[in-house]
């Protein structure tokens, strides 16, 4: 047991602290506008990392004021210090200095939503008992004023022991200068009085502290008295004497007399909150008119649900329709860049590496940046406006029928962008069974990396007919999204009926008011996603593109080289001018195809071809699929590389080349049943190392990622097999 008075600073921490004079934790309930404020205060000077051992994101930023620097740590939102979910636990651990490798922060910036002081004051009161330097930021004070809420800041400050309170509007920046100054002043450790809301608890905590010989801090004693010794606080209770634990139980019996401690705590604290609210806040909040309109509409159960489906349909239509012009532009640039490079550098390995390997490979992934941007933009907007919480509420009953709760809907919707943040978002789900079932279902949601494969195949093989207000291509894409959802839900149902059988998951959800998303917050989040995507394109996909190019280029066959020379010679005798040039081109393509076929990649594709032959795939598709297992978007890059050489290369676009590719007997490879099978394979197969890694981290065992991989790959294979065999039969 480490004494709380000891200062524990790891090497990493020293590096982080260099330059900053104080570390301040930003604490607030979810939806309190905490992240918007954090982004406002730190701007782009922030780093995103992870807490040790868990995948909860750790946002750290620097605030500069008056030549002094303060480090801000944005904690996950929490309603209370008695943690209920993993995210809340992390917030609590950081505040109490229990987090491995980092000492307690030097102070707290408490973020309270002025329109929801009721719950905000509950948390604030717990924070005050910690007796750490603190400043309160009262956010959304403009919305509060518009709703007729009148808060007496002086009275509020007095009620909470003299803590400084700054009223701010994070969206416009009003009040931020004062808040910056107040945060910087925390370095001087301003004093404030303790407010004794619960004297019995304070008394019991004192007794426990002296019995533990001051091994426990007063704060830890209070938390222990309320929470008891549980799995969650094991890390710091493990070293306690049995005697101390016995005394703790005695004290708890006296304090709670068999009633649930959490209930007692809630009653006592909210009594104080109501009294305080009566003295500091006048008027009952009422909704603003534009919000009332939206809320009234959504409060009708059927209209609300229909609205949800319309929103989703519009998002997917936009992803497909809006991005097309930009994508065509990028495609054109990459294409002309490739041919310019090839023309400038001439023949040879280096020229081929740049043009066929790097430009064709990376270019064919970058092209999907517009679609990914639009998708992420919508998801961020839906989340920031508070709509995702409403979606969870609307879908709760439906989700319950498959053994999940409405809370699972948020990870699932996030998984449409990427399963990695989606799986991370399952941390808000308190029940472990429920959480794992959601994690197993999430990778079935159509992520942005599947989109390129879908988009390519749909653009090439689905006609552009119009069906109602959507075109057939958009409809097929929508169908694939639905297919993913159905597969995910069936999986969750299956899991909840077998391995994860258990009681119904709980559900309690705050439904925040609709609010206009803040432009800066949205842009910062969007920029973060773009960075991750470009980083992947620049590292993983670049590497894979180069490796795949090398596998497709080497070894060079001397025999084919000699044969080409011979044929060229023969051609010069009988042909001239344009005909000769055309003949040269034909010979080169045939030679390139022959080279590819005997390359390492060609051999690998041929080796696995028998396995995929029943699905109607030739060795090139097989090779691309194999190469795509680390990251599925690579498949496009590989197809781009594989089809950049060979006799289909005449067609300028990749989809044109796919259409032109044939079996040895001249029949097309990409028939409709084969394409449908390929789409099903992609919809199901777990081709993403990052997802496997995040499942491993979130479930803390290799069992689940291995299971997920085998399960999803088998379903994909069988689905593709059925589609091809039935479709071709």
């Amino acid at each position: 047991m480490t004494k709380p008075s000891e200062i524990r600073i790891s090497a990493g921490e020293i590096a982080v602290r260099r330059g900053a004079e104080a570390r301040i934790a930003v604490v607030g309930s979810p939806n309190s506008g905490k992240s918007t404020l954090f982004n406002r205060l730190t701007g782009l000077k922030q780093r995103i990392g992870n807490y040790p051992g868990v995948t909860v994101e750790r946002h750290v930023g620097t605030l500069s004021f008056d030549g002094k620097k303060t480090e801000l740590i944005d904690l996950p939102g929490t309603h209370s210090l008695s943690a209920h979910s993993l995210e809340e636990q992390i917030a609590v651990d950081v505040i109490l200095g229990r987090m491995e490798g980092s000492s307690a922060p030097d102070g707290i910036l408490a973020v309270l939503d002025a329109t929801n002081l009721y719950q905000g004051l509950f948390l604030l009161q717990q924070l005050i008992e910690l007796q750490m330097p603190m400043v309160v930021a009262l956010t959304m004070s403009d919305a509060a004023a518009q709703s007729g809420i009148d808060i007496d800041l002086d009275a509020l400050s007095q009620a909470v022991g003299g803590v400084k309170i700054c009223s701010v509007v994070a969206t416009t920046g009003a009040g931020l200068a004062k808040l910056r100054a107040a945060i910087t002043e925390l370095q001087d450790r301003p004093a404030f009085q303790d407010i004794t809301v619960w004297p019995e608890l304070t008394e019991a905590a004192k007794k426990l502290q002296s019995r533990s010989n001051d091994e426990l801090s007063a704060t830890e004693c209070k938390r222990l008295l309320i929470d008891g010794v549980t799995e969650r606080n094991q890390s710091f209770t493990a070293g306690l004497d049995g005697d101390v634990v016995g005394f703790l139980e005695e004290l708890r019996d006296d304090l709670f007399a068999g009633e649930p401690p959490l209930a007692i705590e809630a009653r006592i604290r909210y009594d104080w909150v109501r009294d305080t609210l009566n003295t500091v806040q006048r008027s009952v909040p009422k909704l603003q008119s534009w919000r009332t309109g939206i809320t009234t509409f959504l409060n009708q159960p059927i209209a609300g649900t229909v609205g949800l489906f319309i929103v989703m349909a519009v998002v997917f239509q936009a992803v497909f329709a809006w991005a097309t012009p930009i994508m065509d532009f990028i495609d054109g640039v990459a294409g002309s860049l490739g041919s310019t490079v090839a023309a400038t550098l001439g023949d040879g390995a280096f020229s081929s590496l740049i043009a066929d390997g790097i430009i064709a490979g990376v270019g064919s992934v970058i092209i999907f940046l517009p679609q990914i941007l639009i998708l992420f933009l919508f998801i961020i907007l839906l989340e920031d406006s508070g709509y995702l919480a409403r979606a969870a509420y609307l879908m709760d009953r439906t989700m319950r029928s498959v053994g999940l709760s409405g809370q699972s809907i948020i990870p699932m919707i996030s998984s449409f962008a990427c399963a990695v943040p989606g799986i991370m978002a399952t941390r808000v789900i308190p029940s472990r069974r429920d959480r794992i079932a959601t994690i197993m279902a999430a990778p079935f949601m159509t992520c942005s990396a599947r989109l390129p494969v879908y988009a390519l195949l749909i653009a090439a093989f689905v006609p552009e007919d119009r069906v109602g207000f959507m075109n057939l291509q958009g409809l097929v894409l929508f169908g694939l999204y639905i297919f993913g959802i159905v597969m995910g839900i069936l999986t969750a149902l299956l899991m909840r009926k077998t391995a994860l059988r258990g009681p119904k998951p709980p559900f309690a959800l705050m439904l925040p008011e609709f609010r206009r998303p803040n432009v800066q917050t949205v842009l910062i989040q969007l920029l973060g996603r773009v960075k991750v995507f470009l980083y992947r394109a620049g590292t993983v996909i670049f590497t894979v593109a180069v490796v795949v190019w090398a596998l497709a280029y080497f070894p060079r066959s001397q025999i084919i080289g000699t044969e080409v020379e011979k044929q060229r010679q023969t051609a010069t005798y009988s042909l001239s001018g344009e005909q000769l040039a055309a003949e040269y081109e034909r010979i080169d393509h045939v030679a390139a195809a022959a080279q590819l076929e005997q390359s390492w990649l060609g051999r690998a594709g041929k080796t696995v071809e028998p396995l995929f032959r029943p699905l109607g795939w030739d060795w090139r598709v097989s090779a691309a699929v194999i190469a795509g297992f680390p990251a599925r978007e690579v498949v496009i890059a590989v197809l781009g590389t594989v089809y950049a050489v060979g006799d289909e290369a005449d067609d300028a676009t990749l989809s044109g080349r796919l259409k032109a590719s044939t079996w040895a007997n001249g029949s097309p490879v990409f028939t409709l049943p084969m394409v449908i099978g390929l789409l099903i394979f992609y919809a199901c197969c777990l081709q993403c190392a990052a997802t496997l890694a995040v499942i491993r981290r979130e479930t803390n065992t290799w069992r689940w990622p291995v299971f997920a991989w085998v399960y999803m790959t088998s379903i994909g294979y069988v689905g593709a097999l059925l589609a091809f065999q039935l479709g071709s039969g």
Partner: protein
């Protein structure tokens, strides 16, 4: 006492009530208490999802949704309009 017959689950759309007593034995109910659903709090029925479940309430101006099965644990005294 007519109190027993009124719970959060029996409130109708637009009706208000003050929580009189909470059966806190269920851990999920304790969680709701931490969110502010305690004795003395005034609460209003705002909407329901399809099928009448879950229910959205307004608590001091904030939306909070809970399921029928949990709403039953909260006994309320109805607030008559105009009080």
């Amino acid at each position: 006492m007519e109190l027993n017959s009124y719970t959060l689950a029996t409130l109708k759309h637009g009706e208000k009530g003050i929580i009189q007593s909470v059966d806190a034995s269920d851990p999920q109910v304790q969680r709701l208490m931490v969110l502010g659903l305690v004795e003395g709090a005034e609460i209003e029925h705002a909407s329901t999802a399809i099928g009448g479940d879950p229910i959205e309430f307004r608590l001091f101006g904030c939306g909070i949704s809970l399921r029928q099965e949990h709403a039953r644990f909260f006994q309320v005294a109805p607030v008559v309009a105009g009080d």
